[in-house]
């Protein structure tokens, strides 16, 4: 009997699908949000509301995936705003309404993205700059490029881009397919390839990765390049979705991109990334906006709810709940806690 159980415990098992606790939390919260929306503000879950919300959720999801890759390496990317804004103005200004010039414009945006990512990466991994400083400087340079391209005046997009980015297929906004595509690519690359697995290992512990002989700096650099490419995709989509994009279109995505990464459970100290949860978190934040709008409450409440969601999310991962429970169950009698 005991022998059998011994063998049982010694056998190393694995399951095909692992469910991260962060995924459960954010998925339940999102489902609850839709359910509560259906009860309290039915217009927030109407077909038109959701179709209107999805493209913006998709853009946030793609930007969030990029931010996630940088956060996985223990960094943070403030140049997400400049990167997206630059892609927006390049894909609107360069073609100037001419569909045939859209292709070269997007290629140009991609080239800028790769350049910006490489510089960020080299500054952080080779010159050992703090990622906050490096990407803060890069953000300003990218905005310089934004003004060089556009002069700061908005212009609307080409018909082709609008029809692709803002169109629907089978009643679902195209942007959502782009987001799912980005999700699949990021997931497969990080979870299923040799380079991706090394990438996650380096993020989890660079010192150990170096001791194993992995090329830490190369992977750290590439994280910024991949991130910029994703911002570029987000920017091009955003250019098609928005009628009159401004030169500062990316600014409003900076904090939410960090927020979705944190909500998804990726540690700001680096390590494993949670792409699916990141995308769901983007959906959650955008639907929250819809819900609050439909309720007719002041939009500011939505910002507060975001802050609370973020704080609760971080607390779930940061606080040592086991020790809190212990302390609550066995309260120390009349012991003053020094503050």
């Amino acid at each position: 009997m005991s022998n059998a159980t011994m063998r049982e415990t010694n056998r190393l098992t694995t399951s095909r699908f692992r469910i991260a606790p962060g995924f459960v939390a954010i998925a339940i919260a999102t489902i609850a949000l839709f359910a509560v929306g259906g009860l309290l503000a039915p217009s927030s879950v109407s077909h038109s509301a959701i179709v209107g919300m999805l493209p913006f959720a998709a853009v946030l999801a793609i930007a969030g995936l990029g931010q996630m890759l940088v956060v996985q390496q223990g960094g943070i990317d403030l140049s997400v705003a400049g990167g997206i804004s630059l892609a927006v103005v390049i894909s609107t200004h360069e073609p100037a309404g001419d569909d045939s010039k859209l292709g070269p414009a997007i290629l140009m945006a991609v080239a800028f993205a790769i350049g910006a990512g490489l510089i960020n990466g080299i500054l952080v991994s080779r010159l050992r700059l703090n990622s906050i400083i490096a990407t803060l400087g890069m953000n300003a340079l990218l905005y310089g490029a934004v003004f060089a391209v556009s002069g700061g005046t908005p212009r609307s997009t080409t018909k082709l881009l609008a029809s692709v980015a803002d169109g629907t297929t089978w009643g679902i906004p195209n942007a959502a397919f782009f987001a799912i595509g980005a999700l699949v690519v990021v997931s497969v690359l990080t979870k299923k390839t040799v380079a991706g697995r090394r990438f996650e290992a380096i993020g989890a512990n660079p010192a150990a990765a170096r001791a194993v002989g992995l090329r830490v700096r190369v992977h750290q650099t590439l994280s910024f390049v991949w991130a910029q490419l994703l911002y570029c995709l987000a920017g091009v989509l955003l250019a098609g979705i928005t009628n009159q994009p401004t030169a500062f279109q990316g600014d409003s995505l900076l904090l939410p991109s960090v927020a979705v990464v944190v909500l998804a459970g990726t540690s700001l100290l680096g390590g494993r990334g949670f792409p699916i949860s990141t995308v769901i978190a983007a959906l959650f934040l955008r639907q929250l906006q819809q819900f609050v709008l439909a309720l007719g409450v002041d939009t500011s409440v939505q910002t507060l709810v975001q802050a609370i969601a973020l704080a609760v999310g971080v607390a779930l991962y940061s606080v040592n709940w086991a020790s809190v429970r212990r302390r609550l169950i066995t309260p120390k009698t009349s012991q003053a806690i020094p503050v």
């Binding site: 415990t9 010694n10 190393l12 098992t13 694995t14 399951s15 692992r18 943070i76 500054l123 010159l127 050992r128 700059l129 703090n130 906050i132 400083i133 490096a134 400087g137 890069m138 953000n139 300003a140 340079l141 905005y143 310089g144 003004f147 060089a148 497969v188 299923k192 040799v194 697995r197 090394r198 996650e200 290992a201 989890a204 512990n205 010192a207 150990a208 990765a209 170096r210 194993v212 002989g213 904090l255 960090v258 944190v262 700001l268 100290l269 390590g271 002041d298 939009t299 500011s300 939505q302 910002t303 507060l304 709810v305 975001q306 802050a307 973020l310 704080a311 971080v314 940061s318 606080v319």
Partner: protein, 839 residues
Amino acid sequence: MTDTTIRTVTPAQAAQATVLDLTHISKLYSGVAALSDVSVEIRSGEVHAILGENGAGKSTLMNVASGTVQPDGGAIVFDGETVTLTPTVAARLGIAIVYQHPAVLPDMTVLENLQVSLPASVFDGGPDEEIAERLLDGVGLDVHLRDRVELLTVAQKHLLEIAKAFAIQPKVLILDEPTAPLGQASVDLLFSRVRKAVAEGVAVVYITHRLAEVRELAQRVTVLRDGKFRGESAVSAITDAELLALIVGRQLESTFPPKHETVEGEAVVFEVAGLSGDGFHDVSMTARRGQILGVSGVAGNGQSEFLRALAGLTPFTGTVTVDGVEKHGHQLLREAAFMPADRHAEGLMMTLTVRENAAVAALAKFRGWWLLSRKKELGRVTDTLQSLDVKAPSLDAEVSSLSGGNQQKVVMARTLLSEPSVVIADEPTQGVDVGARAEIYRILREVADSGIPVIVNSSDSKELEGLCDKVIVLSRGSVVETLTGRDVNEQMMISAAVHSTTSSISTDRSAAVPTSRAGVRRFIQGDYAPSALLVAVVVLLGAFILTQNDRYLSAFNVSTVLLAVTALGFIALGQTVSLLLGGIDLSVGPLSGFLVVIASFFVNDKKPVVVILVGLLLMVVVAVAVGFVNGSLIRFAKFTPIAATLAMYIALQGLSFVLRDGPDGYINSDVVAVIQLTVGPIPVAFIVLVAVAVLAEFFLRRRRWGWRLRATGSDEESARRVGVRVNRTVILGYVLTSLFTVLGAVMLMGQIGVGDPSQGVGYTLSSITAVVLGGTSLLGGRGTFIGTLLGALLITQLLNATTFLGLSTLWQYVFQGLLILVAAVAYSFVRSRRRRAAA
């Protein structure tokens, strides 16, 4: 027989008073006894040496004596009274300890290190510099008071630590292996200093491994082994052989696999010749096929450094040959499997799973067509883990949830899967339970039998005796003995280590720098170099603009620019505090906007003065609350500073919009007039800003408050050891950041004149830019308020310059971006050169 303890007390020594009496001390670490029933009497006016092997319990006993560790049993009697020791109590009673690893703050100067660590009373009766000089002279430490401690050699840091211990004129002085990093001249000076202190009646406890030092310095010796008392004697009444017999003879429960049968003519598979590097010198050894090589010696004598070089992690000179092929460092890094001593720091990816950790070094072997083959990976990983008998809940369990022994087996599985050309194991059984140890020995032996050379470092001589075929003994980085065959035993290893008299190869004098250049060098390496650079840039830029446009220095433009500096300036001063602590406060921007929104309800035209004052008071109260919440989230809820202040950022932005959905609530025009008052072309607010920055700078450099702040940011653990209350310092730091932001908000209120919920947010990033330009490090511990002020001035000047030079917005961004990147790269470059110079 060996267990009979020797207690001989001569009448002369019995007369000396017992200062510190440790009686029947026991200490358990997770059920394992580190000390059991140990009693030591420390008498004034004598040097009492504590001898024992690695892990015999010496350091634990001294941590009990200095109050950093609380014993589980026994009593501590000081001057006849039973006491409960904490570090604070111990310091008050006059118990000083010099740790093996000095508790110094690398970013602060030598003088500041003394000032923050020592009670203020030490500096009574003279200028601080004079007293500090005297303290350094006392231990023969020849450094400049304004040198950054980061630049000191290990030996110099150690001398600084010793100076701190002598400074409080202790009654009991505990020295833990003090001579390990010191050169001969410093050792002689230290010994004479100790003799002088003893003559004055100080009780000295001297922990060492070296019999020669015991003979030279101590009057009394106590030997520990396995956490137990083995004997005490007057030094003059015991021979070296008797002492050695007390030290060795540990019992080890593990069983070892049979050793390699040496056959003549077997191929040499591994050869190290004349290897030198940081911490070790001219090490040579060879291994034949099937042999396990051991590296022995007293912990910290270059063994770990030697192994790290073999693993390709640190540079070396000399040759390493594996299977007849000479290997370079980068080849070793890839081909050698290194099992680090510190599994948490560099052994495992603790947040990843057992499977991921085991597979990480061999991923390329699991490639299918172009994706990883799950089948291949699982097959190989499971086989290997099971052959090593790893006990884990599942392959998907986080590796941190495993016991130490199983974690080490995961490291070994990774090693085996990577098919290395050599295996280098640093303390392979540290933190591993007895059962798993035997299995680890077996696996290492199997690896060696398969023809892969295995090199093991262990602080446990008994382990090396059982495991290895050949052992080199290192002392102060050099080989003092090579043991083979029957000589591979504990007795021989310990004997070689304790009889060694080699002195440390590291020098405790910094490379001589001509004094005329030393001042320049010190300035460039100091905190104020960025400030000087900024002044130069500001002046040059101003001169250039003046040549282009002579209205640049008009009274109107000067007062416009200087007024514009104030809001950013105050907020950036606040940000400096957070960055000095090694944190960051993203919420300053929205906080400034929110405070203006609050003010817009109170500070209006036709409101009575009382209401206006209430409004201003409310701003302060809200700011204090925000800072307190930020700090508490970081310290108590363990949020990262970015996460905590990001949540606060979003919340404050939301609150602003809750109070006002658009610009409304015009600010009292009289108040605005007061805020914007000028003296000539200079705004009063700017004068206040400069005064506040200078005052803050003074407190940062010259007052305990500033030292504590920088100490916390520089090295939290060392700060705690020198008595800084870290939690309180950090939380008050964030409160201070918010209070500076109040001043910034007042200026912002004057500039925009209305409660606008969308204003202020941009100050978060621009304040960080200003602080970084000023030379404050994001790593914490170093920086200046003056530099921040200049950084804010330069940013504002630059924005103003583009309009004056007729440049487009484009250039505003490009200049800002280039400025911050160039500054950051330059500062980082200076810093890394500096560190390389020190190493």
